[in-house]
Amino acid sequence: MNSMPDSEITLTVNAKLHTLHAHPMERLLDLLRHQLGLTGTKEGCGEGECGSCSVLMDGLLVNSCLIPALQARNATIVTIEGLAPGDQLTALQQAFLDCGGAQCGICTPGMILAASHLLKKNPQPTLDEVREGLAGNLCRCTGYKQICEAVLEAGRHGTKSEAAK
């Protein structure tokens, strides 16, 4: 089997422009973890079932284990490391802490990105909408109750800060 020459992949990750060299079929997940050292994005199942590797790509929630590098060319990616602008946690991250929405931590980055994708589309989701929005993200520790509560809490907090403006 011939080895394909590396492709040049330029993409924006967490507001920083990177030019990487990769095989076209290398997974976005591996670029993020191995080339950029962004290990907040986890690998769970590697087949799009568990959501541990969720990132935002051009504003859309995707499983980075299912994205070939070449399809991420010129994309804008946000990982868990880039969600909060500085050292201050976002209201959503704080709500996960306050509600006990994180336990072993493997699903947490994906859960938070899925929740942030949901809240952007639907700032005040109902419990059923939270469950549907997080349906592609599996947690084997918490039983989901605290996670859903955290997202509802972030929705309430977001509405309060909108009202304060």
Binding site: E47, L61, C65, L66, P68, L70, L134, A135, G136
Partner: protein, 300 residues
């Protein structure tokens, strides 16, 4: 064993004509990849036999949703998210909108496409029974030109379709003639979300004065290809719904489906569920009829 990326080629020609000309030069050599929600799973598991892939993700020529008085044309590259959020699809083709809503989770809906669901041709694909009952037509395109084929005969055997090696599905056309119909769908799976169906039903009926003028019933996950229940439809069409009709439709459906055994369920369970799903649909159409308790089919 995971695939090694260096053993695979992936090209992104960027326009539909460029993709078609590549497929035409080496028919069958290139596997199209759109959102990757099926292809990348096989790749990740080391089960992808194709080693040359051509990206059709985000091709503008495949992303349209065009509405005319007679039909809606959906570009094959439209994602499940786009389908579930489209006002007219929700209003006139709710079976397709529901299927889009329960295909995978949000991340897969953001990437997975209707065209991909069709050509991947999994018998468990949730959107395909809806396309069967809405009597969709497909526009297939190649460097040789376009052809329009009925979706009802597109699947020929397990994971086999009428798509030629140099062709792509360009659009899915749905006739806008079902606004007076009752639309019914249900997915039976291990959990509500992110589960592959054991059996799913999509069904339509037009009722006048309790009599069934027209009925279409399709099921997924039950046979090697998405299945129209022609015999069951035949015994219902033109009749008034009563307890006797519901029972005979239920038994006919359970006998007609000749289901598969696979990792998700057994043939016996599927036949029973198929009968019960038809009975549930009919009793929803005639709510005054008391439904017999659900039971095993009588044919085993």
């Amino acid at each position: 064993m995971r695939s090694h990326p260096s053993e695979y080629e992936l090209v992104v020609p960027g326009t539909l004509p460029a993709v078609l000309s590549l497929l035409n030069r080496e028919p069958g050599a290139w596997l199209p990849i759109a959102g990757g929600t099926d292809v990348m799973v096989q790749y990740g598991a080391g089960r992808l036999s194709a080693h040359k892939l051509v990206s059709i993700h985000n091709l503008p020529e495949l992303r349209h949703i065009e509405v005319s008085p007679a039909e809606i044309q959906i570009g094959a590259g439209c994602t499940f998210t786009e389908l579930r959020e489209h006002a007219l699809i929700n209003a006139e083709f709710p079976l397709l909108a529901s299927a889009a809503r329960w295909t995978g989770g949000v991340a897969n809906q953001n990437r997975g496409t209707l065209g991909g669901n069709i050509v991947n041709a999994s018998p468990a694909a949730d959107s395909l029974p809806a396309l069967l009952v809405y009597e969709a037509e497909l526009i297939l395109v190649s460097a040789r030109g376009e052809r329009r084929v009925p979706y009802t005969t597109f699947h020929t055997a397990y994971r086999k379709t009428k798509l030629a090696p140099d062709e792509l599905v360009r659009s899915i056309c749905l006739p806008r003639q079902f606004s007076a119909y009752h639309h019914h769908t249900r997915k039976v799976g291990a959990r509500n979300a992110q589960a592959i169906s054991k059996v799913c039903i999509a069904a339509l009926a037009q009722i006048t004065h309790q009599s069934v003028d027209d009925i279409r019933i399709a099921m997924g996950s039950i046979a090697p290809i998405p299945l129209r229940l022609i015999e069951t439809e035949r015994i219902i069409r033109g009749k008034s719904i009563d307890a006797k009709l519901i029972l005979s439709a239920k038994n006919t459906a359970a006998a007609e489906v000749r289901p598969i055994d696979d990792i998700r369920s057994t043939a016996r369970y599927r036949a029973a569920v198929a009968g019960n799903l038809v009975a549930e649909f009919l009793s929803n159409l005639a709510p005054s009829i008391k439904l017999e308790p659900t039971s095993e089919p009588t044919n085993d």
